[in-house]
């Protein structure tokens, strides 16, 4: 419980600083901190594979991509122009309203499911099944094989698309 609260606080704090920070470079690095905290929470949820995927793919691959683009575009001046750093009026109101609505919605859902969460929360016995990467691979390649194959096409299309979009026309 203590560990969960610690890592949750780190994740929320780092995410808030990502969103509110001025410098995109700091945002990217803080987001890696947030992802690491989430990976620790995944370990607490008996999902070590998810934690490793989180670190390798998110913190490793995707964030390096972001970091390269931030440095390539030399963008750490941030928010230039007459528009001003903090948007006033409508965007602020809309963002706060949507965020508040989402939190309220979840609070309502939590209040409703309070009784059932105790019933389904007992699954301590099959923790070894959840932790086993072998089991996960079985489900992934048996039950979700079509989705898995479609995913590879998605990656291919994304790769081709990225190359086409970023190519310098000469």
């Amino acid at each position: 419980m203590l560990l969960f609260l610690l890592f949750a606080a780190v994740a929320v704090g780092a995410s808030l600083m990502v969103v509110l920070g001025r410098n995109p470079m700091h945002s990217v690095l803080l987001l890696i901190v947030s992802f690491a905290a989430l990976a620790a929470i995944y370990v607490g949820l008996d999902a070590p594979f998810a934690a490793v995927v989180q670190i390798i793919i998110y913190a490793g691959a995707i964030m390096v991509l972001f970091l390269f683009v931030v440095m390539l575009l030399n963008a750490h001046t941030e928010d230039e122009g007459a528009a001003g750093p903090t948007p006033a009026g409508k965007p602020l109101v809309a963002g706060v309203a949507v965020a508040a609505a989402l939190v309220l919605e979840l609070a309502w859902a939590l209040a409703r499911t309070r009784g059932t969460s105790g019933r389904t929360g007992g699954g301590g016995a099959d923790a070894s099944v959840l932790q086993s990467v072998r089991e996960l691979g079985g489900v992934l390649y048996r039950d979700y094989s079509l989705a898995f194959e479609v995913t590879s096409i998605l990656i291919l299309v994304a790769m081709v698309g990225a190359v086409v979009l970023a190519r310098r026309e000469s």
Partner: protein, 100 residues
């Protein structure tokens, strides 16, 4: 054992943070980072639901979400580079015309 509600609350807070970032920021890269925060919040919800249901399906879905996030980041950043090359700006408000 931490109750399910705590995980869902953390997920909701992270998702709301990401949404706030998408609305507030004036930098395309930070907007993309906020979207990553939102995707992570969803991943946390999937994994905690899977854990409390006693099935690995949540982790499988998380795997797919990570794949889609990687594809989205690659295409999104390529778009950012292409836009920056045309406009020399990262402010989303600078990109208002479909053709120039």
């Amino acid at each position: 054992m931490v109750p399910l509600g705590y995980y869902l609350l953390l997920s909701a807070i992270l998702f709301a943070t990401g949404t706030l970032g998408v609305f507030l920021r004036r930098n395309v890269i930070t907007v993309l980072l906020s979207i990553e925060v939102m995707l992570n919040a969803v991943n946390l919800a999937f994994i905690s639901f899977g854990r409390f249901q006693g099935s690995v399906d949540g982790q499988v879905i998380m795997f797919f979400v990570v794949t889609v996030a990687a594809a989205e980041a690659a295409v999104g950043l390529a778009l950012v580079i292409a836009l920056f090359r045309h406009r020399e700006s990262l402010n989303p408000d600078a990109f208002t015309s479909l053709k120039w």
